[in-house]
């Protein structure tokens, strides 16, 4: 990675710094709410925590790619001494990093909450990890679609799919035979179900993130 691309990635951070901070703040507060005791507050808190991460991902992907293109800052970037392939790669890498900062923080926060809180069974840990992993893979799906898309309509559709996918994921994982039963255990169960889903998530992440390299980065008409 050369000086120019690292500067552009740093700029990406600079642009989204308030968004990142805000997401982390909302997430942390939500975790506190979730841990404050009552089941209802737990639900509200976890929902807010989930929404914070998911919404942040969509917003940062939109701002980072579609809005830049629309607002013609893309033309300015392309006037710099880099190729379109380098641009795609730095966008991918930069925005992933921008997502990872709040994601890591809030994932850690959720895991800490589960471990620390007495009234939260540690059996929740596998599910929490899978959910966080899914959110990361889901974000990469939105990000790579945004890189590929040429119209805003397409990206909007992708975001809708992304939102539906979250509920779908929770439902499907909960329906895995035996998985649901272990959620309320005091100790976490790292069964085959867990490792399989985790492996699928990791593989999806890699496959999705490699697509821009082969498709978008090779485009010859950039505008």
């Amino acid at each position: 990675m050369n000086k120019l691309t690292s500067k552009l990635i740093a700029r990406e951070f600079h642009q989204h710094r308030w968004l990142m901070a805000g997401t982390i703040a909302v997430g942390i507060v939500s975790l506190f709410v979730a841990g404050s005791g009552t089941p209802m507050l737990f639900n509200i808190g976890m929902l807010c925590w989930l929404t914070a991460i998911a919404a942040y991902g969509c917003v940062v992907a939109m701002l980072g790619i579609a809005t830049e293109r629309k607002e013609r800052a893309l033309l300015f970037v392309l006037s710099l001494p880099l190729s379109f392939g380098e641009y795609v790669r730095l966008k991918l890498f930069g925005l992933l990093l921008c997502f990872l900062v709040p994601w890591l923080t809030l994932t850690a926060g959720a895991l800490v909450l589960v471990l620390v809180k007495a009234d939260m069974p540690d059996g929740l840990m596998p599910f929490t990890i899978l959910l966080c992993g899914f959110l990361l893979a889901n974000f990469s799906f939105v990000l790579c679609s945004a890189l590929f898309a040429k119209s805003e309509g397409f990206i909007t559709l992708v975001i809708i799919v992304h939102n539906i996918a979250i509920s779908l994921f929770i439902f499907l994982v909960g329906a895995i035979p035996g998985f649901f039963d272990h959620l309320k255990d005091p100790a976490p169960t790292w069964g085959t179900a867990f490792w399989t889903v985790l492996a699928i998530e990791a593989a999806s992440l890699v496959v999705i993130c490699s697509l821009p390299y082969f498709v978008v980065a090779r485009r010859r008409d950039v505008i």
Binding site: K3, K7, H14, A73, L75, S79, D221
Partner: protein, 295 residues
């Protein structure tokens, strides 16, 4: 011998409703080339081809000797590109962009940048979000000029600028040309500016180059000739007449290759001979070209 800064040979680019065809263009070092054409003629497409932002369907494009679009990263190191559609990063200030560009390009001249800021009436603390269109273009031009690139490629650089800003800008362009190893390609609707500072002028219409020659060549070749024919007399067939307006005995001819020979053949019927402004030449050229193409 110096290599050409921009070289396009037989370039073709097709879109659904528009095709750029058989485009050949050369920008020599030490030259300012003015690129003139109606809206939709293909100026922006040509400029984007020259920058490697789009790839030609046929033909070859070279920028500073580098084949495009594959080698655009290297070529762009010494090229400044500003388009009137371009925008800076909305989340930062003018000063942030100056530091950004200064850190990327070794040729950045901080003193010159400071001079330009003052001349263009900009402030480093200004957030990009609050800039008007004209200020935005001035900021972009300042960022390009201050790094002293070998080639400047400008798409409508003076559009939306007030006359003072335009004057400042043209002065900076001419200053660039003090160095005969640098060159400028700029597209513009403003034929007055093009006429003034261009060395070479290219006319483009409906995806094709209509005419391309030295400015003084254009100005010398084109004339409007007013004749008064004797009653009942007919005008002889003459070469290089691209326009003819008849009003009774009075005829106005437009020629694209004026010569004393032509005057001699017209004889005493000639009342007046007028030179034409670049704008008049451009319009006459385009209409003539469309007429010929339509046949």
């Amino acid at each position: 011998m110096d290599n050409k800064h921009i070289e396009m040979r037989g370039v073709r680019k097709s879109y659904r409703f528009f095709t750029l065809d058989d485009l050949s263009l050369d920008l020599e070092p030490g030259q300012i080339m003015g690129f003139v054409g109606p809206n939709g003629a293909g100026k922006s497409t040509t400029i984007r081809l020259a920058m490697g932002l789009i790839a030609a369907d046929a033909g070859e494009v070279r920028l500073l000797g580098h084949l495009l679009p594959e080698n655009q990263a290297i070529a762009k190191r010494d090229v400044g590109f500003v388009s009137d559609e371009m925008r800076l990063f909305a989340h930062a200030t003018v000063g942030w962009h100056m530091n950004f560009i200064a850190s990327i390009y070794p040729g950045w001249d901080a003193k010159y940048a400071a001079t330009l800021i003052k001349r263009f009436n900009l402030k480093p603390e200004q957030p990009v979000k609050g800039l008007s269109h004209g200020e935005h273009v001035k900021a972009l031009l300042m960022l390009s000029l201050a790094r002293r690139p070998r080639v400047l490629i400008l798409d409508e650089p003076t559009s939306g600028l007030d006359p003072v800003a335009r004057h400042e800008l043209l002065t900076e362009f001419m200053d660039v040309l003090r160095d005969d190893s640098r060159s400028i390609l700029f597209s513009s609707h403003n034929t007055v500016d093009v006429e003034r500072i261009s060395d070479r002028i290219v006319f483009i219409d409906r995806g094709r180059i209509v005419d391309s020659r030295d400015k003084e060549d254009f100005l010398e070749r084109w004339r409007r000739i007013q004749l008064q024919l004797a009653p009942g007399a007919i005008l002889p067939e003459l070469p290089n007449i691209v326009g003819r307006v008849v009003d009774g005995q009075f005829v106005t001819l437009t020629t694209n290759h004026f010569s004393n020979d032509l005057l001699a053949r017209l004889g005493p019927t000639v009342r007046e001979v007028h030179r034409m402004s670049l704008e008049e030449i451009f319009v006459a050229s385009v209409f003539h070209h469309r007429e010929v193409a339509g046949q």
